[in-house]
């Protein structure tokens, strides 16, 4: 990133950035137009109709329905256009479009960002990404609310304790960019910053290969370490259900009704197993609340998800 002493526009490094900039410029023109218009009218009238003498008696003008309608409707219709475009662009930041979307997992805590790549590498306050590949961020906080903000991508999303949030983005320009925490989170809020490195695909492959075990492997290790494997036997004969193929299947619940076993459900099943008990099983699974870290949870979930893939083979 070049150092410009008086920059006007931030770096633009994602597919969504030019769209937001375009919308920004359009609204800026609109805003400048109306602000200048009001300033101009006010100053012009103030000069033109400047009081000449104390005895001035201007005529009474009651008002005009036509004008009222015109100046409420016309600007409103104009801004409705901004609403439509703005909402569409916003939705794009949440829509997975590409088939080869890669995933990045972010954990925020006072006051650092912990980033995990499924292939294995883990980083703190730094994030490496390949260029031109769609990335889905899945984020959770360990303590208070933070917000993951990359100005060059024109994107931010709050990172909340107790719940996953996510957004999707495609970086388009190689370079180093700012990473900020945008939600006030305590003393070192302004120190919760870092850098995003967007790299050529080939460089990224090299970089990723430098990492150690994959998230799945780590999750598998945790699965043994926490004793999950003692109950969740692959053959389904344990005290708990087999977890093979669980991911994304419909689970029948003891209380009736069913639920899709997505990531959020898996998380809840581990932290709060009694909230939704699977049909045909006793609610004997202990809670792992406070025992597994948020990062560990992401790894275990990654492992459970991988069990599905193996079954499909």
């Amino acid at each position: 990133m070049q150092h410009n002493t008086m920059p006007f526009f931030p770096d633009s490094a994602s597919t969504i950035a030019p769209e937001i900039d375009g919308l920004m410029i359009a609204e800026l023109l609109f805003s400048v137009f109306f602000s200048v218009l009001i300033f101009a009218i006010v100053v012009y009238f103030a000069l033109k109709y400047k009081r000449k003498s104390e005895d001035d008696r201007p005529v009474h003008i009651h008002g005009s329905l036509v004008l009222e309608i015109a100046w409420s409707l016309i600007p409103f219709i104009m801004i409705l256009g901004f609403f439509v475009v703005g909402t569409r662009v916003f939705f794009r930041a949440y829509t997975v479009e590409a088939a080869n979307t890669m995933e990045i997992f972010v954990t925020g805590k006072q006051w650092m960002w912990k980033i995990q790549h499924p292939e294995g590498p883990r980083e703190i306050n730094e994030m490496h990404l390949p260029v031109n590949r769609q990335v889905k961020f899945t984020m959770i906080a360990e303590d208070v609310i933070h917000s993951y903000f990359i100005p060059a991508f024109r994107l931010k999303k709050d990172v909340i304790p107790g719940r996953y949030t996510s957004f999707v983005v495609t970086p388009t320009k190689v370079g180093k960019y700012h990473l900020f925490c945008a939600e006030y989170c305590g003393t070192q809020h302004s120190g919760m910053v870092g850098s995003v490195y967007v790299m050529e695909e080939s460089d990224y492959e090299k970089w990723v290969a430098g990492g150690d075990e994959s998230m799945t492997a780590r999750g598998e290790a945790l699965f043994g370490q926490y004793g999950c494997s003692t109950c969740h036997l692959p053959n389904g004969k344990g005290r708990g259900p087999s977890l093979i193929g669980v991911y994304n299947s419909m689970q029948k619940l003891q209380t009736g009704g069913s639920v899709k076993a997505d990531e959020s459900y898996l998380r809840e099943s581990i932290l709060n197993p009694r909230a939704k008990v699977v049909e045909g099983f006793q609610a004997v699974m202990p809670t792992f609340q406070g025992q597994i870290s948020e990062e560990g949870l992401l790894q275990v979930i990654a492992y459970i998800k991988s069990l599905e893939k193996e079954e499909g083979q």
Binding site: T5, M6, P7, F9, P10, L23, M24, E27, L28, F30, F34, S35, I38, F39, I41, V42, V43, F45, A46, Y49, K50, E54, D56, R57, P58, V59, H60, I61, G63, S64, L67, E68, S72, P75, F76, I79, F82, F83, G86, V89, F91, D143, V144, I145, S147, F149, P151, K156, K157, D158, I160, G162, R163, H178, A182, E183, Y184, H189, S190, Q289
Partner: protein, 544 residues
Amino acid sequence: MSAYVETPDAASKVNYLTNGWTWQSWLLTGDHKRIAMLYLISITVFFALGGAFAAAIRLELMTPRGDLMEAETYNKVFTMHGVIMIFFFLIPSVPATLGNFLIPLMVGAKDLAFPKINLLSWYLYIIGGILGLYVAVSGGVDTGWTFYTPYSSTYSNSAVIATAMGAFVAGFSSILTGLNFIVTIHKMRAPGLTWGRLPLFVWAHYATSLIQLLGTPVVAITLVLMMLERGFRIGFFDPALGGDPVLFQHLFWFYSHPAVYIMILPGMGVISEIVTCYSKKSVFGYEFIAGSSLAIAILGFFVWGHHMFVAGQSTYAGMVFSLITFAVAVPSAVKVFNWAATMYKGSISWDTPMLYAMGFMGLFTIGGVTGVMLATMALDLHMHDTYFVVAHFHYVMVGGMVMAFMGGLHFWWSKMTGRSYPEMAGRVSAFLVFIGFNLTFFPQFIVGYLGMPRRYHAYPDEFQVYHVMSTAGAGVLGIGYLLPAIYFTYSLFAGKRVTDPNPVNAKGLEWTVPTPPPTENFIVPPVVTEEVYAYAEQEEKSLV
């Protein structure tokens, strides 16, 4: 309107200021005019305090490194700045001073409906304020004025409960003021003063009071729950229990968005009065300005989610909130256009109040249209919690409401105190405020779009230029505010005496009573026979 009758009656020589000199006669008064003066003094103190915190913020941000103070101190400084400016200055500013003073006069009543409750409001405000001051001297609070959970309820190590308690108590003060206004406006209007003849200032306060009544209790209970969660772990925002911290934000903004209209509507009322008087014209589109106040008050309750577009709220809910936010801009636009149209073919004086009013129209428009930009979901994705937001809200709050407050204070100063201020000094300060203000906050739009996050105590080097400009501007702005502080104080004791009940040739019942008004306001109970803002003698039939 009934003309002022010069009565030789001895009673009329005693005005509300000279009616009693003891402490009790002020501190136990039921007179709305005295209570307004008490408010005026207390909010000025808080404004100066909030301003001092602002100065500290600006000095710290002059350099990219946090070299003036610790990060923790900085966090406390901006929190105290926000809390004081919002809860102890801007929300009571116009309503509790000018509104309190003028509403009974404008509707032709002897006092507000419930004078004791009015006094109680002031005491509640003072109790809240003392809690705030106590926090300021005893170590501060560092949650930001928004008190987001779980930081406020669990993680912060500062005086959160005392601060929230202060805001809670001040909230009740605000509720009671609103209640008093609504009852007075409904029940105590002089004969002949129909709704269609009510000054726009009164209409604006009516709308404001509705928000105070319907919104403030929600933030009150929300703060109570936050305090309970902090104190006793009884509260349901805690994610460790499966609670939703975002629910706190919903409940907080349900009040705090409408609250921003508590902070602007009274100012809009002031502008309507000033523009008509200094253009010597009846207001253009009376019904539309009056109606748009109500529209803003009501629509304002539907849009709070625009503070939460990226906070984990559903994208679809965000869409609805965004759309309604666009709609709420329309009534504000209607007002601005109508004021501009009022000036058309007027006889416009360049006195201080009018200068402030003209500044208001321009700066509020800038603040408003940037609000509309923030309401566009895609742009908020980038600009949320950056300095763009900081610039937006200072444009509406300082460029809007504070300008209006200053304008109104100059406009009614002689009526309130019986003294005049030096006109030339007033114009100079209005000019300084305008220049200083823009220099302070315009650069923040740019640095915000560049990505500078809010509530940062240190920042990357490339943002520095804008921060230096901003700090310089704050200096000019500070002088701009200091000037009136000096000459108003001077005029209180040594200013030229004003006895003319209507020195500016304005319309409205408040100008028919002696200056300063007697304790019971009207010597003869007024009867209204004229239309509102009857400045002109003849009428031009149609414009378009």
